[in-house]
Subunit: 137 residues, 2 copies
């Protein structure tokens, strides 16, 4: 936590009450939070911290590569710590999200690299499919 705040400061940013609160909630809630879920949690203690401030802080942290955001399903993005590199697959029916180790994508990444000089990201978008429970039959 303090290290991360120090990183913000090192890049000319300021350590403010909202930033402390948001980062703290982010660490407490763990992975895969939406901005809105995060804002709600923050607002339990600091009711006046605005959703737009949450978005701006998430943006700042993303630029410092502290967090990543992943698009899973239609609209909302979820955020997680950048050090957890895994891919996501989500069920198109129920929305459940499965975390998949990077290693499963290694071969695919190698082929994209070899054939197209394309460097695959660590799961910036979730793949979609149908999970066990929603599978027909």
């Amino acid at each position: 936590m303090e290290q991360l705040l120090e990183l913000v400061r090192a890049h000319g940013g300021r350590v403010t009450t909202p930033r402390r609160a948001i980062l703290s909630s982010l660490l407490e809630l763990g992975s895969h939070v939406t901005a809105e879920e995060l804002a709600e949690h923050v607002q339990e203690r600091h009711p006046d911290i605005h959703l737009s401030t949450v978005y701006r802080t998430l943006d700042t942290l993303a630029k410092l590569e502290v967090i990543d955001h992943v698009h899973v399903g239609h609209g909302r993005a979820v955020f997680h710590m950048a050090d957890e590199t895994h891919h996501h697959v989500s069920c198109r029916r129920c929305g459940a999200v499965l975390e998949v180790p990077d290693s499963l994508f290694a071969e695919l990444a190698r082929q994209l690299e070899d054939d197209h000089a394309f460097a695959l990201d660590h799961g910036h978008f979730a793949l979609s499919g149908v999970c066990r429970r929603c599978r027909p039959g």
Copy 2:
């Protein structure tokens, strides 16, 4: 074209001028059109066909599994004929889209199936990464 319209009719739908026009433009423009691009093309001949009608028609065609939509990058979705099954990877910097044969995903799909009983879709979401031209260095 006529077969597809017949399919609409077979499911209790009606074949209307807007639907003809939209389907025709869709076939003419080929893959990876956004709803807005499609609407613009349709409106060259039928200026009064509304964007929302395009969305509704795309929706209808998607339910009949005539087309698929793919989310590539931030906002907009692109549509393509359902019989073209390939995956997409898109460059996070420049937005370029690469079509990738399903076969590259076969091993991944098999492992998701074996390990999680998860049935991977044909590229409902594009993977993201950095393309050759945008690659640093």
